[in-house]
Symmetry: C3
Subunit: 357 residues, 3 copies
């Protein structure tokens, strides 16, 4: 493992991650990626520690990824499924968390459909002065930091496998396409990409990308009468040492058409479209959505020649992305993302847990 | 581990527990409490053994506690959830248990909504002459021995952390408040508290504490015309060596008001109120229940100054106990109970399993 | 472990199993049966490997058996329950499998209610050129190879515990009774029994055993006008070295009454009757089914004196088999089957996994 000065006790959001923290996660994940290629893929790092997966919102994929990561580190795992939980017995979420604390949990991996639940639990743990760590595995439409970190790791290891680091993305054009308004994945990714110095271009139908969305990331939300919005982000905490220019270069761009976002893009991040958006009359039809914002081989012609496509999964084939493109290893990073997920989650559990052991 | 002469093969009920058995559990749990405070919280005691959690009635809390306890002892665990069980395929419960036996289960932890199921399974295992142990994790309105033992451990370690033992409770006044009629926790606690020589005062509305309830614990059920019932318990198996007095001092008291139970109490055990009791017209409203039998800071004034409050969880805040009181470490033992639960369940699994290994 | 030349990468069906493969499974399972009788029942064989139980159709019994088997081999296990799966989010089954592949799964144990799903997943894994193995844990009405292998192991170890092998069944008469049409267990068993040289007699009501059923196993389906059908199977792949006779002796017999199947039988395999068959008007009533095809002590008089009865479980007592007979160790092998199941599944996981480690 790389020597590091990691002081973070919880991972709840990427909004305040520093460059040093991003790089520590990337380098630690790279070490574990190497472990995963060995014959014996386990390390004894977290032996005797308990990682509790408290998934108030069910997710087989993310839960399995955290479970494998924890087991690779030799931790004991506990799974809590919302369906059979004591929540149905009227207990508050904080009381459930405190129960797992009292049972000896060292790290709580929390998913909840309401934004802010992991933060509230972490605040309560800090108030109690206990050493348990909270890892946000997705909260409402707020953040999904481990997903954004694995996306970052996937891209950075593609550029420089030996030494993945945040600065590799400086100046890259990255398109994020789809249901941005409702996506915690997009929010976490926007924080990390802005911190890296990348140019982040969002593309979605207006119902899924209101102009006000930009205010979440910047006070300077530009001229709202345009077809695209160019936004200069607030000075990011990721480069606290650099002198904050009075007017930083724009990094966040909003588009209500796909083409300007794809033009010369290095990477295209697609987002999962919830079918419920249709019934809520935010979209006319899946077919029309695919025509306008679905990623296909033809539309990728607009991008850089080596463009790569990401998706957090599970994919609705033929909606967010065409089926043949998804299976084409020349363009698709989707399988790499899943593999990176285990390495990045091992890194996060290790960084949070090794202070305790 | 303390040297001990533990001969019990199943833990189904506390009705016939001896003082020596209570003390063995308390001392073994104290050893494991010490293990749990170490850097590496695991011991290899039950390596290669299989602990099957057969929860025909779902319970995240108790199941997680047993699962952590088993993993701390290095056992392999199997979880059986009622919802996806073969029970829905028409198999009998005994056949399900025999299937887990044939798969190589060493200890079966069983919860079922019908009283007597763990006993029936244990009887069948004994009839078959096999070495598998059965641990009752709550059966209907019958018993929940591991909960009562963890309550006992919580109280005894508070009084003498270095040497928890049953006799520490002799002469203490302990109030049990709430839905006693339907509570397996109350029944198991009454057995252990009577065995300890404590004065046990039950308090509940008449619909949740019928006079006939006392007959479960004693043949001498006193004068039934009073507002409170004073009962001399049948001679307890907990002190088989002591000469049984022709008329033992009363130890069990029934009250249909809260105040006489709280008066000078050393400990107050509150019980969970199932919301279903309202719909069954056993109670007028949650609000009225809280007014009459909910534990608050004000009502605790009646008790001894150092009084402590217990609850088996999950708590309905503001019903059985006021929210601020629950969070006050000066009065509340609720978090300690959860922590004690892991140590006590490790002790029970160890005592049942170490004979086999 | 016996030295062996095992080259099979997936276990999907027994239709093409060779005698050498059957014998390798039987002998490997015998070694593990011995491990299971030791004080410490674990071996480190699959340490660091991940066995994912992907049960798209729920099954506590089979999943638990595979989970114990994997843990005895020190593998890490992942459980995927259909109810909380991302399947409900519109992902395809192949994409789910590829996600578990990308997470680092070494062996996928797959159950699905549609025939062919494990084969499709295995084909996709082979197409991708990856080393993951697929084990069919039951697919629709197609096959359930691990169940048939454990039935085979149960019978062979009864005949020669020291050296279980396929040829022990040569010439034995084995009756398979019940809902053959809908049974994947029956299909897998017929393949292994024909390969062994046993005489296989199927007995069921005509609605559950159509004459056309025989065509699945043989081109020569005999004279269809009889009350029983005598079928010469196609030359089996299990004895590729032996010269294929122009007209092999008949091995598969279809009966629409119970008696001719039981007459002088050495073993009786009963099949689970799904209650849904009644509502589909395939059977008049459970009572009538039991009268005509249920196995009782009286009906066993027709068989050889040492006849044994098997059932894959869970049993509907008093339907497929009388309750007293099921519990009689003189006749019932049902508990042995469950125990054999763990040894056989350890053998399969070992044979599939040890090439990778």
């Amino acid at each position: 493992m790389p020597t590091t000065t990691w002081n973070r006790h919880h991972v709840l959001s990427l909004a305040d991650f520093t460059t040093a923290e991003y790089d520590t996660v990337l380098q630690t994940a790279a070490s574990f990626q190497e472990v995963l290629s060995r014959r014996t893929k386990k390390v004894p790092t977290l032996q005797g520690q308990v990682v509790a997966n408290l998934f108030f919102e069910s997710s087989t994929r993310t839960r399995s990824s955290f479970e494998i990561a924890a087991k690779r580190l030799s931790a004991d795992t506990l799974n809590f499924a919302a369906a059979t939980s004591s929540m149905t017995k009227g207990e508050t979420i904080l009381d459930t968390a405190k129960t797992y604390l009292a049972m000896g949990t060292d790290i709580m991996v929390i998913r909840h459909r309401e934004a802010g639940v992991p933060n509230a639990i972490a605040a309560e743990m800090d108030r109690l002065g206990v050493r348990v760590s909270v890892l946000n595995a997705g909260d409402g439409q707020h953040e999904h930091p481990s997903q954004a970190l694995l996306d970052l790791f996937t891209i950075c290891t593609l550029i420089d496998p030996a030494n993945p680091r945040l600065e590799l993305l400086k100046g890259k054009k990255i398109a994020i396409v789809g249901d941005i308004l409702h996506s915690r994945v997009a929010r976490s990714n926007i924080w990390s990409l802005i911190a890296s110095g990348a140019q982040v271009h969002l593309a979605a139908p207006p119902t899924l990308l209101p102009k006000l969305f930009a205010e979440y990331f910047s006070e300077d939300t530009g001229d709202r009468s345009q077809e695209s919005l160019v936004i200069s982000p607030s000075s990011s905490p990721a480069s606290p040492a650099s002198p904050a220019p009075s007017s930083p270069s724009p990094q966040l761009f909003l588009h209500w058409q796909l083409e300007p976002a794809l033009q010369d893009a290095d990477f295209v991040m697609t987002l999962r479209l919830q079918k419920e958006r249709m019934t809520a009359h935010l979209l006319p039809s899946l077919r029309e959505y695919h025509q306008l914002f679905g990623i296909t081989r033809a539309k990728l012609q607009l991008c850089k020649p080596n463009v790569k496509v990401l998706h957090p999964g599970p994919v609705n084939r033929g909606v967010e992305i065409s089926s043949d493109l998804m299976d084409d290893p020349e363009f698709s990073l989707i399988q790499s993302q899943v593999t990176s997920g285990v390495a990045v989650r091992m890194a996060l559990l290790y960084l949070l847990g090794s202070g305790k052991a």
